[in-house]
Every structure is written in C-alpha cells, then in structure tokens.
C-alpha cells in the first residue's frame, strides 16, 4: 500500500506521497486509482509531492502519464515536486522531463501557477 495525504491548498489538489519506495506493481495500481479519483475534482492545478520518496520504478511513471492525460482533458496542469536526484534522472533518461512540469517543492510549484500571478 502506498500512503498518501491529499489536501486542497489555494484551490489546488496537493498529493503528498508518504511511502519511500514506489516499486510494487499492485500497490502502484491502487495508488493510481486513488490519484485518478482525486483528479475528478482537481481544482485549478494538481501537485504531486515526492519529497518522501527515495525509489520509483517505471510503473509509477505509467500512473503519472495517465494522470497527466486525464488532467490535460480538463485543462488542469499537473506539477511534480520533491524528486531526488536519482528519480529526476529517470525522468531525464526517458525524456519525460519534457512533458512534465517539475518543481523543487510544493510551495514553488503552487507559486509558479499562472492563475496566482
């Protein structure tokens, strides 16, 4: 099971992932279902904070891509933050850093949203 904390901040959905390893296929599928449920009422933006996450397999990337596509249909931006260097490498190796908005932390992610300007 992947533990998450979901909050609404400044009309954004902010999901903090509290499990350190995202590597179990079935737990990741359940986590994906939880994110997709939250994406039904996302607010003006959707932020996923990986500050507590030390390890991520490509199964988690699959969930994030599906989430990105779902939110794009609602014209809601998805921002990822708190990625450690090793996980950030995975995004760069797979070129996924070109399709995701990646920020250092949750506050920076929320501050970067155009509707707050």
């Amino acid at each position: 099971m992947i533990r998450t904390e979901i909050k609404q901040i400044n009309d954004c959905t902010v999901v903090r992932c509290l499990t350190s390893k995202l590597n179990d296929e079935y737990a990741i599928q359940e986590w994906g279902d939880e994110l997709m449920q939250a994406a039904k009422s996302p607010g003006k933006a959707f932020v996923v904070d990986f500050n507590q996450v030390m390890f991520m397999s490509s199964s988690a990337l699959r969930v994030l891509i599906t989430l990105q596509k779902t939110l794009a249909l609602q014209d809601v931006p998805l921002l990822l933050c708190g990625l450690n260097d090793s996980i950030l490498d995975i995004f760069k190796i797979t070129n996924l850093d070109s399709i995701f908005k990646i920020r250092k932390g949750t506050e920076e992610a929320i501050r970067s949203l155009p509707y707050l300007e």
Binding site: F55, T66, S86, T94, I99
Partner: protein, 147 residues
C-alpha cells in the same frame, strides 16, 4: 510456491543467492533487499545500489506481469551474485517470451505519452551488460565496478 532462499556466503568478498518466487513481494524481500545490503557491505555506492535495484524491479515486473501474466501458478527463477567487482542478476519467467527489439523506443516523441515500455530502456541504462535469452523469457544483467 515460494522456496526458501539458498544464500551462500562463499567468502567475505562474494555473495550468491538462488530463489524461485511466484510474486514480486517474495522476490523483493528474499533477493533484492539482501542484494542491496550485500552491495553496501562490499563497498558499492548508494547510487550503484539504486541502479541495480531499479534494474531488478523493472526485470521483475516484466517477468511477473508481462511474462507470467500475473499467474500465481507460475514462478520467476532468480540467481544473483555480488562481489566487489561486479553484480550479476539472472532472471527467467515461465511465460511465452518476447522479442525486446520489438519494444518501441519510449523516447520517440510519438511514444512519450504511451504509459508503458520504459522498463527495458531503464535496465539497459543502469546496467553495463544486458543479455536477453533467445527464448525471450530470461535476462542476465551485469554491473561492473567503476575504476
């Protein structure tokens, strides 16, 4: 059915393990976590451990989910060895096999939004030598210590 891990510490500088698992949790707990501990004892860096763990997880997912189609009656067979110079992981599933050359390039712009297909690319990136069995249902992955 899971079998007990057969761990053999041949010497202080070498570790070997063989195990057959029907699910990811068994394989992870009996092999991957021990392999990570042994790598650290043998002086490998945290980054090296991350690289090998990622390749292990990707190969394991391919074996259990794609190879064995998540059939609990089928097993994944694993062998690992660790020394100060190299790490070797051998894995075989009981599925029909696949041709890794037929997996589309996930970095191609047309495939960036395709949810799956990145595991093999990550294995090849993080390990130094990757050989797929001609039968298509096995892989041998090796990482060498950088000088």
């Amino acid at each position: 059915m899971s079998q007990p891990a057969q761990n053999k510490l041949k010497s202080a500088a070498e570790w070997r393990c063989e195990f057959s698992a029907s699910n990811q949790t068994d394989a992870r707990e009996r092999i991957a976590e021990q392999l990570a501990q042994q790598m650290l004892l043998l002086g490998w860096t945290e980054k090296d451990v991350f690289d090998v763990q990622l390749a292990f997880e990707e190969a394991l997912t391919n074996a259990v989910v794609h190879g064995n189609q998540s059939d609990p009656a089928k097993a994944v067979h694993l062998q690992c060895s660790a020394s100060a110079e190299e790490i070797c992981v051998w894995m075989r599933d009981e599925g029909a096999g696949f041709n890794p050359e037929n997996v589309p390039d996930p970095c191609h712009p047309d495939n960036l939004y395709t949810p799956s297909g990145r595991g093999i690319m990550l294995i090849r990136h993080f390990m130094d030598k990757v050989e797929f069995a001609p039968s298509g249902n096995g892989v041998t992955m090796t990482k060498y210590r950088k000088a």
